[in-house]
Amino acid sequence: MSTTVLSPFQVDQKGFYGDFGGAFIPEMLHGNVEELRQRYLGILASESFRNQFNELLHQYVGRPTPLYLAPRLGAHHGTTIYLKREDLCHTGAHKINNALGQLLVARELGKTRIIAETGAGQHGVATATACALLGMECVVYMGARDIQRQAPNVARMRMLGARVEPATSGSQTLKDATNEAIRDWINHPETTHYIIGSAVGPHPYPDMVARLQAIISAEIRQQLDGLPTHIVACVGGGSNAIGAFYHFLDEPEVQLVGVEAAGLGVDSGKTAATLALGTQGVLHASLTKVLQTADGQVVEPHSISAGLDYPGIGPQHAHLEAVKRVHYGGVTDQEALDAARQLSQLEGIIPALETAHALAYLEKMNFRREDRVVINLSGRGDKDLDTYMQHLAL
């Protein structure tokens, strides 16, 4: 893990990616965020952190995850397709990479209490898991509406010993859970570390989360002989995508594609396509693209996938779009549902609804036979079975 990244695609000394990023935090959070900013690179580069983190990723998470050559999916698209199997991580998604890494950072900072936000519950379960493993108090904020919609993950978190706190403000979903977690942090600055679940929030979070998820692209580089032609990943906040892109950002011949949730359609008014429709603004202390009104009030997004329905996006993605290093597209709820069924029946892998957005976008791309396409299969679909049953008449 390098501590001196000099890439036009990475964060600068002031915490910005081009026009995006920064740390728009109230003074009440200055101490914590500044401590993290000063120490995260040193901790991540330290031998003790690297040994512990690598050991946990190997022994506990089950890394490296396979890079699986998917023959029937490839035949369908007339090219070679590999699936990076993050769905095989313990707890069923890439989220655990970040949760474990940040927990080790928190322990290094002397924190004794962990808070997190969660939408669908995947990051909440990953954080509760990491806290159980390392014996740390854990409070997870979750929108009151999401608590009702995602009952099995709420039960998992409680089984793991975490306290699940309903966010009852605003629209009672991921955005509000994040607000409540930040408010909790303001009220408990000394004991608590906030494990943000995606590559969002104030600097240094987007960079720290990207570095922790970069294990995904580091493994792809080792597992593949030579470079892929394309890497495709879904984007909500953007942590699995940045993890899959990270070690290829400076390889211009690799086409990087991020897929947003278009909901009922980009122009339907019921969408989470932040890069397509958003304007520059501050959400959760980061200057990025935001779905908002002309007055700067944040608009509630829609996606069938609770993991993608976020009205902002990580500032690095906003920058990568602005400098045209990554191409971003959108996929509707229905297209994602169809792609989930397709992968299930072609490869025997039921993907998460979030991941299904990346798979669906393949239909909109043109491939040559000799291409080598990597899809980041970010999560498994068990948590989405209710939705699949409801919409696919199972």
């Binding site: 003074e27 200055h30 607000n179």
Partner: protein, 257 residues
């Protein structure tokens, strides 16, 4: 009078009342400003409602959501200010994004036009303010008011002091607004501020709800800031003018006795 002039005057025990524009009714600002002036508040903070007020507890979250549902906007707040004539020093408090979308230059101009002499944007850190907006604020005669907390280290406190003009907003404890009972625990911290040889006076805010809290704040500071408690009081009253008079008298009772 501007907020800087007020703080440069010898007046002490300054009572600064915060209210959320657009709450409880869309045009309540036009009633509350004269009422606060008549009741003897020294300074008002006009809250700009925002959908995601990270620094605020439930009371101001709810008043903000209510005001937005009423249809308030920054544009409308300035229009209401134009229709209201008061001399009481006025500052605006809001979140960075609302001002960013309105346009910083236009915001500063409209503040200057409508008698706003200070601005509090809790999520605009001092470094970014100095980098990007300080000259604009100065050009329009606006004082930017920074927050300090019990966790603010001495060097940063003095850095903030050096760049402050009217007053420093001393947050009484590590918390969001209006969520803790009282400020009595803040004595060591407030004593520290009192003896820190700051060039800028400070007012204490967050969790001041009673005459006792206000009096306590005034023992250390030039005054106190009350927001959530005032909004909770308004929520129970029909006559905003009478309610405002009662509230200000109630809070000031220990100074008057």
């Amino acid at each position: 009078m501007t907020v800087t002039e007020l703080l440069q005057s010898p007046a002490k025990d300054l009572l600064n009342i915060y209210f959320t524009a657009g709450y409880p009714h869309l045009d309540s600002l036009c009633e509350l400003l004269p009422a606060l002036e008549a009741a003897g508040a020294d300074l008002v903070e006009i809250g700009i409602p925002y959908s995601d007020p990270l620094s605020d507890g439930p009371t101001i979250q709810q008043s903000s959501a209510h005001a937005l549902a009423n249809g308030i906007s920054l544009e409308l707040i300035f229009k209401q200010l134009e229709e209201t004539t008061t001399q009481i020093p006025k500052v605006m408090m809001g979140y960075f994004n609302t001002v960013l979308q309105f346009g910083f230059e236009r915001f500063c101009q409209r503040c200057a036009d409508t008698g706003i002499s200070g601005v509090i944007l809790p999520d605009l850190p001092i470094e970014l303010y100095l980098d990007r907006y300080a000259s604009l604020f100065e050009q329009h005669g606006l004082s930017n008011i920074f927050l300090v907390t019990p966790e603010t280290p001495a060097d940063r406190l003095h850095y903030i002091d050096q760049h402050s003009t009217s007053f420093i907003y001393a947050v009484s404890s590590s918390s969001t607004t209006g969520v803790k009972a009282g400020i009595q625990d803040a004595a060591p911290y407030l004593k520290g501020l009192q003896t820190a040889k700051l060039k800028t006076p400070f007012l204490v805010g967050f969790n001041i709800a009673s005459p006792k809290d206000f009096d306590f704040a005034c023992q250390y500071a030039r005054g106190g800031i009350i927001g959530s408690a005032f909004i909770r009081y308004l929520a129970k009253q029909n006559d905003l003018h009478a309610a405002t008079t009662q509230f200000v008298q109630h809070i000031r009772q220990l100074q008057l006795s």
